[in-house]
């Protein structure tokens, strides 16, 4: 079993490496010379040459890549071209904010999707299933930004219960923080849960209709025992995979939600950095996001291996 886990770990690290190369290459394609961009109209040939030297732009792309990789590994993410601060410093606050948002969203999403998935699976074909499935379908077909804008229109503008923008930097208390973060969290949860409920329902139904659950019932075991000890443990594996898929989606989807609510997280910073061509920040955020995605998949894979007696 540990061999399996180590192989997964190795593959994850390899993927990270490959991704770093791909992203670096993509960013390389961004038009315009970084030095020109920074100095703008004040550029003189001498200042340009000096800045280029400072930014190592005279080296080849390959050399710059390894340079960057080396500094990454020693924890140095470079300096932001826009803010002229060390990147790590610059983005760590944002990372924390996004982590907060994601954390809240996950906390809400897990019980909601599991509960709804179980209900629709057990009562499949009946009214509860149809009703929930219709609502879920509608949410699944609305893009996150539409859900966000709708929520703002209803709860922030019409009803004025919650603030329309999530400028959490201005929060003075935890209560206020919660109010500010509520709408973006609900938006993410709504979008994620929709997919999860449908997928959970399918995998739960597969388990519920399996031969071994039938056997457990024919053994005369009480329903709770059948569900809890025969059905659920075998549905956990797929449930974990589904959650991993949704978390992966969320890592990308958070960009849109943060833009809608002007939430000070790394998603919005990403969009801004791309507009300003702030290369070091773009690279850093891409690596952080991809790293988070790969880590999530790795954890999910390992959990599935641990849970499945056949793989242990």
């Amino acid at each position: 079993m540990s061999k399996l886990v180590l192989t997964r770990l190795g593959m994850a690290l390899l993927s990270l490496l490959a991704v770093s190369a791909i992203i670096f290459w993509c960013v390389e394609l961004l038009p315009g010379d970084a030095a020109e961009r920074i100095l703008g109209r004040n550029a003189t040939p001498e200042s340009l040459a000096l800045l280029r030297e400072k930014l190592n732009l005279n080296l080849s792309a390959g050399e710059r890549y390894f340079d960057w990789l080396r500094s990454l590994l020693s924890g140095d993410f470079g300096v932001s071209l826009v803010a002229d601060r060390p990147v790590l410093d610059y983005i760590s606050g944002r990372i924390a904010n996004t982590a907060l948002l994601s954390g809240f969203a996950l906390l809400l999403y897990i019980p909601i999707s599991i509960a709804l998935g179980i209900i629709t699976a057990i009562y499949r074909g009946k009214f509860a299933d149809h009703a929930i499935s219709v609502i879920v379908l509608i949410f699944m077909c609305l893009p996150e930004f539409v859900i966000g804008i709708l929520l703002i229109s209803i709860f922030a503008i019409k009803l004025a219960w919650l603030p329309p923008l999530a400028l959490i930097g201005q929060a003075n208390s935890f209560g206020e923080l919660l109010r500010l973060i509520a709408l973006p969290t609900i938006t993410i949860v709504a979008a994620m849960s929709a997919y999860a409920v449908r997928m959970m329902r399918e995998s739960l139904i597969e388990v519920l209709e399996s031969s071994y659950v039938l056997m457990a019932r024919l053994k005369g075991l009480p329903t709770w025992r059948v569900l809890l000890f025969h059905a659920l443990p075998n549905a956990l594996g797929p449930a974990i995979n589904i959650t991993a898929l949704n978390v992966a989606w969320m890592i990308g989807g958070v960009v849109v939600v943060e833009s809608v609510f002007e939430f000070p997280g790394i998603g919005r910073l990403m969009v801004d950095s791309i507009s300003h061509k702030d290369v070091p920040v773009i690279l850093a955020i891409s690596m952080v996001m991809t790293g988070a995605y790969i880590a999530t998949n790795l954890i999910a894979d390992v959990l599935v291996i641990l849970l499945n007696p056949k793989l242990r």
Partner: protein
């Protein structure tokens, strides 16, 4: 047999309907049966007979979209479908035990085997003075599981098929029920394991006096364990009689046909064709030192497999022209690997194959068109051997196109000819595989093989997925074709009884090597290897008394 006591189980005019795409259809039609205390009733029938539906109805279980169309199911006088859910739950396991068809799928993969047995004791409040784990070990021991204490800590996938089924039997009997329902409990097990399970069941019945409803398509097994046997066809109950009477004096035509179709190891079938004269020329197929291995090692499987991991270990045999050579073995014996190697689907690790005296390249794509044409293969599973998207005509036309030089009119004529040759209505040419029955699909597969006009046909367990009556007709067809076209067969099977009168030569494979090789007649009447004797012994013989239990394996 009991006399005045009320029967344990009474089915009175039971009818069950299924809801399919085309509305409601009757799966069980007005069936009335009784099982007395301590009696074993066999329920025989082929696929679609409704016997499984009856078995589940006895447990109060309606499968899929079905409803009770009429009648009653009484257990100890109580109507099963009138019970409340909690009453039904109390009844199941405690008073009625169930042994499923496929133990691998029916044991919960995430729970240890001992735990699954203990559940029965715990949730039916069975008193266990000696402690739960000891009792579980006792139960596992009673069903003949070696090393029961260790086995209890294992997960289902770590046990063999036979052991899994023993666990299922232990679970079914744990609460000492009045009745045990067995749904084809030995299908899918090796024939030697089958015999051991049957012996176990007979022993347990003797020791505990439990009643049984034994559902199976295998009449011979039923005759060994059950006092009475009922025969069903298409939802109807045709006849019930005690075993001996049923087999000696069947009342119904269908029963008579069914009994006649059962291949007997001890006597040739009534309509057996005359054996062909021996052909002494060069053998058609010469296999020499063939070894096949599936193990892959090294990065991406590039390195050669380690020695000792061979599935087929240096096997040699010859097949004469116009003859039938049977390759017999249980699962894992390597028989299919040999078939696939000869067909060019698997490259052997070592050894040579000669066809008509000339060496045969390992893989089909390296063989000449002529060679590919002369060697054809038919597969086991009729559900997967025909492309579901093609019509029968197009399936048969493909080999005609590849191997023949006919124009489209001639091809069409050939297709009709082929269908007739396998006794299928030419109108079938426009059908798709899902519109054919299992036996009909196998006939199309045979026609596809014939379309190439081959000399050698490899039959890889082609009968195993078919009903018994269909098996007999397919064998008859093969024999006729052999005589008409001078075909040679390499016939793979696990069923000795089937090949006894069909194959001239036989090779018995065990774990990749022959333990017996030679003329069928002499080999089987005087086998030299103990494994062959074991196989012969395991063939269920009709009317034989239940075999006394062998000592624990």
């Amino acid at each position: 047999m009991t006399t005045s006591a009320r029967p344990l189980v009474e089915l009175k005019n039971l009818s069950v309907d299924y809801h399919g795409d085309r509305g409601w259809s009757r799966a069980v039609d007005d069936v009335s049966l009784e099982i007395a205390n301590g009696e074993a009733l066999g329920l025989a029938g082929e696929s679609g007979s409704g016997k499984t539906t009856v078995a589940y109805a006895l447990m109060g279980e309606r499968r899929g979209a079905s409803r009770i169309g009429g009648g009653q199911v009484l257990f100890k006088g109580r109507e099963i479908f009138g019970l409340s859910p909690s009453e039904l739950t109390a009844l199941r396991g405690r008073s009625i035990g169930f042994v499923p068809q496929n133990p691998m799928a029916s044991l919960t993969p995430s729970m240890k085997v001992g735990g699954q047995v203990a559940e029965m004791l715990r949730f039916h409040q069975v008193a266990v003075p000696q402690g739960m784990s000891s009792r579980v070990v006792e139960l596992l021991d009673a069903v003949g599981i070696p090393n029961p204490a260790a086995a209890a800590q294992r997960y289902p996938h770590e046990l063999s098929g036979g052991q899994q089924q023993r666990v299922a039997i232990a679970m079914a009997l744990a609460c000492r029920p009045d009745l045990v329902i067995l749904d084809e409990p030995t299908t899918g097990l090796d024939v030697t394991t089958q015999k051991l399970i049957l012996e176990l069941l007979a022993q347990l019945k003797r020791e505990t006096g439990v009643s049984m409803l034994y559902v199976s398509h295998d009449l011979a097994s039923l005759s060994q364990i059950c006092e009475r046997v009922a025969v069903m066809q298409k939802g109807r109950l045709l006849e019930v009689a005690d075993s001996r009477t049923l087999f000696e004096k069947p009342q119904h035509d269908y029963t008579r046909r069914l009994i006649a179709s059962i291949p007997r190891i001890d006597a040739p079938p009534a309509d057996r064709l005359e054996p062909l004269p021996v052909n002494a020329r060069t053998p058609l197929l010469e296999v020499d030192g063939l070894s096949v291995s599936y193990a892959r090692s090294g990065f991406f499987g590039f390195r050669a497999p380690p020695p000792g991991s061979d599935t087929v270990k240096s096997v040699s045999f010859n097949v004469g022209r116009g003859e039938t050579f049977a390759l017999i073995g249980e699962s894992g014996s390597g028989k299919s690997s040999i078939a696939r190697a000869v067909a060019g689907l698997t490259a052997p690790r070592a050894g040579t194959i000669r066809f008509n005296g000339e060496p045969l390249p390992a893989l089909a794509r390296h063989r000449s068109l002529a060679l590919r044409q002369k060697i054809q293969i038919i597969f086991q599973n009729p559900d997967s051997s025909l492309n579901p998207r093609k019509t029968v005509r197009s399936i048969l036309a493909r080999p005609l196109r590849m191997f023949g030089k006919l124009d489209s009119a001639e091809r069409e004529a050939r297709v009709i000819e082929l269908l007739k040759a396998v006794r299928l209505d030419p109108a079938y040419a426009d059908r798709r595989p899902h519109q054919l029955s299992g036996g009909e699909r196998q006939r199309v597969a045979i026609a596809r093989a014939l379309a190439a006009d081959p000399e050698l046909i490899i039959c890889d367990e082609i009968l195993s997925a078919l009903d018994v009556s269909v098996q007999a007709s397919i064998i008859r067809l093969l024999e006729t074709l052999q005589r008409e076209r001078g075909l040679t067969y390499l016939f793979i099977s696990h069923d000795l009884a089937v090949v006894r009168w069909f194959a001239r030569e036989i090779g018995v494979l065990r774990q990749g090597a022959f333990c017996e090789l030679g003329d069928t007649e002499t080999t089987l009447s005087a086998p030299s290897s103990p494994y062959t004797i074991q196989l012969l012994d395991a063939v269920p013989r009709i009317g034989a008394a239940p075999v006394p239990p062998a000592s624990s394996p």
